[in-house]
């Protein structure tokens, strides 16, 4: 019995290895495209970042000058700080609301499917289209939001039209738009949990809050970390809504790294400097991702 099994394994192992090599043929076409539109641009960006490269004039090699200029550039430093501030807020609120929403949507109720679909509409809708509607709602004189605030006896806000309130306003839109993605990922985790611990806890007379805190939360923790990683990356590279609602303004009050990169490359056509920003921005995103991924692995182990 055991000898036949061993013989089978012996036959199947080289065969499998052979198959594994042939599967690469399936990956090559997509690999070529990925190389062309993803890897090649990265390499080219690195090259451009050591050139003084303006559209319409000849590039000249400047070594690391773009980088030294970058680290001395106050506008870049502020953009980095702003990006981190925006990201912290635009991660915290969607995470909080998303986990709460996932718990709510896990419970069966009348028309749950429809309610869930409506809930995810903000993340599926065209960002530019909804950002334009938000812009109209934020209008200090004619906007519906200030009407609602004043009707409730609250002072009106200048929303995206004021340097102090612009980032919280953009965080509000980002939260509205991306809470659903956090909800979906955490809901997927909740749905895959085993039922036994709950039944045991119920027999022991645990309250639903106790069950959430001591059973659901620890079990669903890896999914929460995944949602956290994805949300953080998306918040770092948020562009559409910021660009449409405030274009980085007023002044540079909401200029994040992505907006600064856009202006540098496609308003001033300073491609070399823009490439240096891209490289540093990319390193920042990879660092944050690595920290979060290692946190995820730790959460998975414990």
């Amino acid at each position: 019995m055991s000898t036949t099994l061993a013989a089978e394994v012996a036959i199947s192992v080289p065969k499998r290895a052979n198959y594994a090599r042939s599967y690469w043929a399936f990956v090559v076409p997509a690999g070529a495209v990925v190389a062309g539109v993803i890897v090649l641009p990265w390499v080219f960006t690195l090259v451009m970042s050591v050139f003084e490269w303006k559209v319409g004039s000849n590039p000249t090699f400047v070594g690391l000058e773009n980088y030294t200029r970058l680290f001395a550039d106050e506008r870049f430093q502020w953009a980095t700080l702003r990006t981190l501030f925006f990201t912290a807020l635009a991660v915290f609120f969607p995470m909080l609301l998303g986990v709460a929403a996932a718990v709510a949507f896990q419970r069966p109720f009348f028309l749950r499917g429809l309610a869930r679909t409506v809930f995810i509409l903000p993340m599926m809708a065209t960002p530019v289209a909804v950002a334009l509607i938000w812009t109209m709602m934020f209008h200090p004189q004619l906007g519906v939001l200030n009407y609602i605030l004043t009707s409730l006896g609250l002072p009106p806000s200048a929303w995206s039209y004021d340097a102090v309130s612009v980032i919280p306003t953009l965080v509000l839109v980002e939260t509205w738009q991306w809470t659903p993605l956090v909800m979906l990922i955490v809901l997927g985790g909740l749905a895959s949990l085993p039922q036994d611990p709950y039944e045991a806890a119920k027999l022991d007379g645990a309250s639903s809050w106790q069950m959430f805190w001591h059973i659901s939360l620890p079990l669903v923790w890896p999914h929460i970390i995944v949602a956290l990683v994805i949300r953080t990356i998306d918040a770092l590279k948020a562009f559409d809504t910021i660009y449409v609602i405030s274009e980085g303004g007023p002044g540079t009050a909401s200029e994040t790294l992505n907006i600064l990169l856009y202006s540098t490359a496609f308003k001033y056509y300073d491609m070399g400097y823009g490439s240096a920003i891209t490289v540093v921005f990319f390193i920042l995103i990879m660092l944050v991702s690595l920290v979060l991924f290692s946190a995820r692995q730790k959460a998975g182990q414990s």
Binding site: V118, V128, I230, F239
Partner: protein, 282 residues
């Protein structure tokens, strides 16, 4: 005694259910209200749109804003551009990405998967700086080709990512049986794995299409006057050339309506795809 206890219990349950209903209502109302306000702005006259206090319900509703969107702009041209770009980018991504997802899943090439994940992590704008220069050298600016090519940056990773997950979930026995019977790997893929993976392909198609349709950043940099996609057109043309809110809201509604309808129709597939991979374009 027990009757009183039972009644009190059900009253508490009723209060709990009511609270729960209110919580659900509070969760979904921001989504509903923004879209309703979009609809309201699109259906009102300019006088009503700029009235303060605001007019909430259009009375009577007017289609004038929609008429103006089509009359004053080349909206049909932009719509056609969007259709060409999104269908091409999605079709090409399926052609390339479905076999790639199969290959990666079967050979357990986690490094290839990681490369795809990095594409998901990097901002779309970072590809645009080099690609913009390359397209200028190739003389491709002013056509739809560069826009389609850049949309592959979004659609290919989505399709590959969804398909890896799907092919990994398929039972391997059927294919192995076919291979033992002398089928080539291509035949096993074409006749066994591919038909089984049809639900996964549906999910990948819908998500790739939606995120390509919604994409703004590639078009805003690469599109010329004639090659604008809808999100770019609604931002560029309408915002700068018409400051009135009604036509702008009507155009915004037209741009996003196909995606909203698709979400309502295919919510099951979309939820399945997003839950599994957390995919998103841009």
């Amino acid at each position: 005694m027990s009757e009183v206890k039972g009644r009190r219990f059900s009253a508490r349950r009723l209060a709990g259910n009511l609270g729960f209903g209110l919580a659900i209502f509070a969760l979904i109302s921001p989504a509903i209200l923004v879209f309703l306000w979009m609809l309201s702005l699109a259906l009102k006259t300019e006088v009503d749109n700029t009235a303060f206090p605001p007019v909430f319900i259009p009375d009577p509703p007017t289609m004038a804003n929609f008429v103006q969107v089509f009359e004053k702009n080349d909206f049909l041209q932009y719509g056609w551009n969007s259709i060409v770009v999104s269908f091409s980018a999605t079709g090409l991504a399926l052609l390339l990405g479905v076999p790639a997802g199969f290959g990666i899943a079967k050979s357990k090439a986690s490094r290839a998967a990681a490369l795809i994940m990095i594409a998901r992590v990097t901002p779309g704008l970072s590809y645009l700086v080099p690609l913009f220069i390359i397209f200028q050298w190739l003389g491709l600016t002013g056509t739809l080709t560069p826009i389609i090519i850049t949309h592959l940056v979004i659609t290919v990773p989505i399709v590959v990512w969804v398909m890896i997950g799907f092919f990994e979930g398929l039972p391997a026995e059927l294919e192995e049986a076919a291979l033992v019977d002398g089928a080539t790997i291509w035949q096993a893929f074409r006749h066994i794995a591919l038909p089984l993976a049809r639900p996964g392909i549906t999910v990948a198609t819908i998500l790739a299409f939606i995120f390509s349709w919604n994409n703004f950043i590639f078009g805003v940099v690469l599109a010329g006057r004639e090659t604008r996609t809808l999100p770019v057109a609604v931002y560029n043309v309408l915002t700068f050339e018409q400051v009135s809110w009604g036509p702008l809201a009507a155009a915004a509604l037209l741009v996003t309506a196909p995606v909203l309808l698709l979400t309502l129709i295919a919510q099951k597939e979309i939820v399945a795809g997003l839950t599994a991979g957390g995919v998103k374009g841009g």
